[in-house]
Amino acid sequence: MADPGEGKKEEADYKRMHSFPLIRHTDMPEEMRVETMELCVTACEKFASNNESAAKMIKETMDKKFGSSWHVVIGEGFGFEITHEVKNLLYMFFGGSLAICVWKCS
């Protein structure tokens, strides 16, 4: 508050510190979880400014890898209540401001 420069620095610090992916909730098996997480990170970094394309990429890749009917939500603020197939849900934060929810339900 006191100094805008300091605030900026803090923000940058926060961005740097908080860039790692943070899994909030998942019931996936270990291997699948790691793979999905990496995919989410890749997609969000690739389409840093376009959440829609990132979501599309994640969905399509997941469909290919783990069978059809995956759903992906990426955004900075949203609420949801979903029904998912057991062991097919991942809810994570990324980049300090993004929430990503990936689940499968056919």
């Binding site: 510190m17 908080h18 943070l22 909030r24 909730h25 019931d27 955004g75 900075e76 603020g77 949203f78 609420g79 949801f80 209540e81 979903i82 029904t83 998912h84 197939e85 057991v86 849900l89 809810y91 934060f93 300090g96 401001s97 993004l98 929430a99 929810c101 689940w103 339900c105």
Partner: protein, 810 residues
């Protein structure tokens, strides 16, 4: 499609015509006549009409005509026209004929349909007849029909006539019936009047509705000549023309048609022109759809095929999850995570917790794995048993059905047939120290493993096998100390009492899935200081607490009661060397105590029990006196390995010892009734559950001896080596309570099941029963007065399990 009714006024009796038309009533499609008014006219199929007479004759409604819709007339109708009276039989005949001839006509009709393709064209075929009116045509039909029809579809077909068809002469057949059909209903009221308010009078109503519509079905298509069709055509034509003009081909539509005709006739046209023709034709032949009753194929959805419920799989399990994501939550989560990470780092710096973490992580995974296995454990168990049944099929057959035929010729001796051999890899080096059948499940038995080599004592093992699965134990319990004895509770067959080499007594509950005993004595709660040689469940005490007894070589017989998950002990008796003089000096000399090695409780007299000792003595004791013996037998010269009451006779017991002998006693007599020398140390002896005179013993030279006192009082009727003499010793034997099978255990951890041949399981004759033998022996050899018959009769003993032979003797 519509079916209307006409009335024939010319006939002497009313005759009814059913008229079916297509489209806008302008064109008759087919008609049929009846002499009875059909009350129900049903079109069940586009080509088939069923007229049903329902009325007083019903139930059931009877079909009295059925005819093809595609045919202009109905030939076999002739019999339907009786000259002046309605003949039911005739009508029947006609119906039958109609029904029979129908299928033969079907194929040509179909062919015609295919040839005609469009319904419009099919109608055209009928069109040449003057469409003046159906009345005239009907008249024509009657006469011309036969010729017409035969030419067209049924020339080669001979009519199959039912036997009861009316025989009509040629003249009768040719007879013509002329009738005038009118659309006016003769029964319709002519004089309906209605009040006219305008003229203030009743006025007859001229237009009475004469048309009776029975059935109408709107088609998908429109008739070409109907107004709606014309309108549609005009519209399409307009559109077509307009589109035609656009692509720079200003030809008139007539010309188009002309071209098309040419192209059709000349079969192969030029390619370019042909393509154009195709498009025009497809436009020309555009369907005239009934807009209210037509759905495009493209707009129809796909109908999923029905599936049997049984063939459907369970849907994958689902769960719901809900959350909200917004900036502050994300921020908080990150902050929290960072703090956690920092803490972890600190911890790692200060201590070496990481190693501790790993096994923790592994443990849950291992747990979950075992859980997964638990899910299939039941089915895998069934499969295991099935596989075993397959591999051991011959043994199972033997167990169930094999009877040694040679027994008949061997007079009295019998044989033992080895069946399954039970072994478990991890119990290979451990001797079988105890055997016990489950009283509830006759295929289940418990085996205790330990060691009789006292310089080489290590762990023990408790296994429960089932005859249904000889390859692997049903239950496995590892114990720290060697097991020396075990017993299964009679009323609660899931409770196992176990005595250990280290002097402890434990209770295992098979219902709980634990690897440890549910209850165990401890040094504090008065465990034995020497190996426990035998444990026995007794009746619950007065407070309904579980109660068991144990005997140990520390000279104590202890009663254990299970009160609220704790074992409480009471010393029942302390064995002393001097028999009934344990006072004074005995207390000062601890080495003077006797060493109990076996005991058995009387079945009827609750307080009475026997204790065999290492010194070769057998004490008859009472639960009531803790320091005195009722009696002492100088039974053997070496350790008494087993002592057992006879299950049928209340006074007789048997004992065996390492001094090679087996002795049978009457508990009131100091000297044995029978003495058998088996030429090797006897490990165990057991009474048969089915006969009072049969018992079996095992010796260390690997032999099983079976005696039947009613057959031979001096020698075994079966003496069979079960294991190789040099390497293995037999340690224990037990009869199955139900099947003619006994199990023996050896000192290498094997348990062998043996089937008794018929000679070994004879039920004793009344004269051969133990009671008479026993009486005989006593008179002959002992001549003891108090064993006289009167005393025997004074207290008649009829055990529940004993057969009739006992009662007969008593």
């Amino acid at each position: 499609m519509a079916i209307t009714r006409l009335w024939d006024l010319s006939a002497s009796i009313p005759s009814y015509t059913v008229l079916c038309r297509r489209g806008n009533l302008s064109q008759k499609k087919y008609e049929a006549k009846f002499s009875v008014p059909p009350t129900d006219i049903v079109q069940s199929h586009p080509d088939l009409i069923t007229c049903v007479k329902t009325g007083t004759i019903t139930p059931p409604p009877f079909v009295f005509a059925r005819f093809m819709a595609t045919k202009t007339n109905f030939r076999s109708e002739r019999p339907l026209y009786p000259s002046n009276e309605f003949n039911f039989r005739k009508q029947r005949a006609a119906t039958v004929q109609a029904l029979e001839t129908m299928p033969t006509r079907m194929p040509p009709v179909k062919a015609k349909m295919i040839a005609g393709t469009a319904p419009g064209q099919a109608q055209k075929l009928t069109a040449p007849k003057p469409p003046k009116g159906f009345i005239k045509k009907k008249e024509e039909d009657d006469s011309t029909d036969l010729g017409d029809g035969a030419e067209e579809w049924s020339q080669p077909k001979a009519l199959t006539k039912p036997p009861d068809q009316l025989q009509l002469t040629e003249a009768e057949l040719k007879e013509e019936f002329t009738r005038i059909l009118t659309a006016n209903n003769p029964h319709a009221p002519q004089n309906i009047v209605r009040y006219s308010f305008k003229e203030r009078t009743y006025k007859p109503i001229s237009a009475v509705d004469q048309l009776a519509v029975h059935f109408s079905l709107d088609g998908n298509m429109l008739h070409k000549d109907s107004d709606e069709a014309r309108r549609q055509q005009a519209r399409i034509g307009v559109v077509e023309n307009s589109t035609r003009k656009e692509p720079a081909a200003p030809e008139a539509s007539e010309k188009n048609e002309g071209e098309e005709a040419r192209a059709d006739s000349s079969a192969a046209g030029e390619e370019g022109a042909g393509g154009e023709e195709m498009t025009t034709r497809s436009k020309k032949e555009r369907k005239l759809t009934n807009q209210f009753n037509y759905s495009e194929r493209a707009s129809q959805t796909f109908n999923n095929p029905l599936r049997e419920r049984a063939s459907q799989t369970e849907p994958p399990p689902r769960a719901t999850f809900s959350s909200t994501a917004n900036q502050w939550e994300i921020y908080d989560a990150y902050i929290q995570e960072l703090q956690k990470q920092e803490k972890l780092k600190e911890k790692q710096k200060t201590s070496i917790t990481k190693k501790d973490d790993d096994p923790r992580r592994k443990l849950p995974s291992a747990d979950s794995q075992s859980d997964d296995i638990g899910k299939v454990s039941k089915s895998s168990k069934i499969v295991e048993r099935m596989v075993n049944q397959n591999t051991f099929d011959d043994v199972t057959q033997d167990f169930k059905y094999f009877e040694d035929v040679s027994d008949e010729f061997r007079d009295q001796e019998g044989t033992l047939l080895p069946l399954w051999k039970f072994q478990y890899d991890k119990a290979k080096r451990l001797a079988v120290t105890a055997l016990c059948w489950n009283p509830k499940y006759p295929d289940l038995f418990a085996v205790g493993h330990g060691s009789y080599d006292f310089t080489n004592q290590h762990h023990g093992m408790l296994l429960l096998y089932s005859l249904k699965n000889p390859s692997f134990p049903e239950y496995i319990f590892n114990t720290e100390s060697g097991i020396m004895c075990l017993d299964i509770h009679r009323e609660h067959p899931y409770l196992l009492a176990v005595g250990f080499y280290d002097g402890n007594v434990a209770i295992y509950n098979l219902k709980t899935a634990t690897t440890h005993p549910n209850f165990m004595s401890s040094a504090k709660s008065g465990k034995h200081t020497n190996p426990v040689w035998q444990v026995k469940w007794q009746k619950d005490d007065m407070d309904k607490n579980l109660n068991l007894f144990s005997v140990s070589s520390d000279g104590r017989v202890v009663s254990w009661t299970l009160v609220k998950n704790e074992l409480f002990h009471t010393d029942v008796i302390r064995l002393s060397l001097e028999g009934s003089a344990p006072e004074g000096p005995e207390g000062a000399q601890p080495h003077a105590t006797g060493c109990g090695t076996s005991f058995d409780f009387h079945r009827q007299i609750d307080y009475l029990f026997l204790v065999g000792t290492e010194e070769g003595k057998i004490h008859k004791c009472s639960k009531a006196y803790s320091s005195q013996f009722l009696d002492t037998f100088d039974a053997h010269n070496m350790t008494v390995d087993a002592v057992r009451w006879n299950p049928f006779h209340p006074k007789v017991f048997i004992s065996c010892s390492s001094d090679w002998s087996v002795k049978i006693w009457e508990h009131n007599v100091k000297t044995p009734m029978f003495v058998f020398d088996l030429n090797a140390a006897v490990g165990d002896v057991a009474w048969a559950p089915y006969s009072s005179t049969i018992f079996a013993a095992v010796t260390t030279d690997g032999k099983v001896h079976v005696f039947d006192l009613s057959v031979n009082k001096y020698e075994a009727i079966c003496q069979q080596a079960v294991v190789s003499k040099k390497k293995m010793k037999l340690t224990h034997i037990e009869f199955n309570p139900l099947h003619p099978v006994l199990i023996v255990g050896d000192d290498r951890g094997h348990v062998i099941s043996l089937k008794l041949s018929p000679n070994l399981r004879k039920l004793p004759k009344i004269n051969g029963s133990f009671c008479s033998i026993f009486r005989h022996v006593t008179r002959e050899r002992l001549c003891v007065r108090h064993l006289s018959g009167t005393q025997c009769g004074a207290r008649p003993f009829i055990p529940r399990t004993a057969g009739v032979w006992m009662r007969g003797v008593m």
